[in-house]
Symmetry: C2
Subunit: 173 residues, 2 copies
């Protein structure tokens, strides 16, 4: 089986980083729960939104993200049985490209460079399964899809959903 | 039609750069013709091969490549009629990722970031046509393929071949 796995909000905790950086910058107490159904920047005062929307353009943002719980151990096991590819829409942030490569080297060294894809659209991928947190990526993919739960998609309907990597393991291992 | 176009030796002149850098470094007179059927490093004395093989790891190498003749005008016209994606096996050289993005911004600004793919394998691409100089990429692609002539592949048989972007235009426009 050829399996494509998104990075941000699937194996890399971008929401956690946005909230942590925002709280540090503005001495506030935003939580992930407060972001349910929306983007992080939509949950801060208007005058601070530009700051949050700029996080991803700051050098080091993508390099310092924490892995999502259990993503490493479950993907390690999956990669021994299947053809696992990481597929990230990274081209939007050119500064993120090398950081994402370095981040994968550190946290997912068992995924070789040939199995890493940085792209924009995901409907140009040919394979069996796509795990992604963005419904617009899943809609156009020709294969099975899992919507990986993230604060922004908790209200999204109509997709096979996984809330954690433990659930992915239950379905695939 | 969804069309995938490789970068190195299809729209970016890597062989020309290897030969130019080598000649500058060692005050030699290597030519592209002398590299027919082989890689550039295979055509220099053994003690200089490591230097040539290291070119692609040097910062700036990919940023400073010259576009292949007529690639810009023909791809501009193709992109107005078809869904053109750039697909480069760039993940091998993490230092090249941002350089390739910047290079595309300069020379192919009409190809938006969503239509740029940096990957390892190309058999995971879903589309109608792949233009590439490496036969191993074409072999596993499920669709029509053009082998774009480069010094290293002049002896390769068994593929629909294009020698220039003028020939691509003749076939597709």
């Amino acid at each position: 089986m050829i399996l494509f796995v998104d990075m941000d909000e699937v194996i890399a905790d971008t929401y956690g980083a946005h909230v942590e950086i925002y709280n540090n910058d503005f001495n506030d107490q935003l939580t992930l729960e407060m972001c349910a159904g929306s983007e992080v920047w939509q949950n801060v005062p208007v005058v601070r939104q530009a700051s949050v929307r700029n996080h991803a353009s700051v050098r080091g943002f993508f390099r310092n993200l924490k892995p999502i719980a259990h993503s490493q151990s479950v993907l390690k096991e999956l990669s021994e049985k299947h053809d696992v590819f990481i597929a990230s829409a990274a081209m939007q942030f050119p500064n993120s490209l090398e950081e994402k490569s370095d981040w994968l080297d550190e946290h997912f060294p068992f995924i070789p460079w040939k199995n890493r894809i940085l792209c924009g659209h995901k409907h140009i991928l040919r394979g069996d399964l796509l795990i992604d947190d963005r419904s617009y990526n899943l809609e156009r993919f020709d294969g099975r899809t899992f919507l990986f739960t993230s604060p922004h998609n908790v209200n999204t309907q109509g997709f096979e959903r996984v809330d954690s990597w433990i659930q992915v393991a239950d379905k695939l291992l």
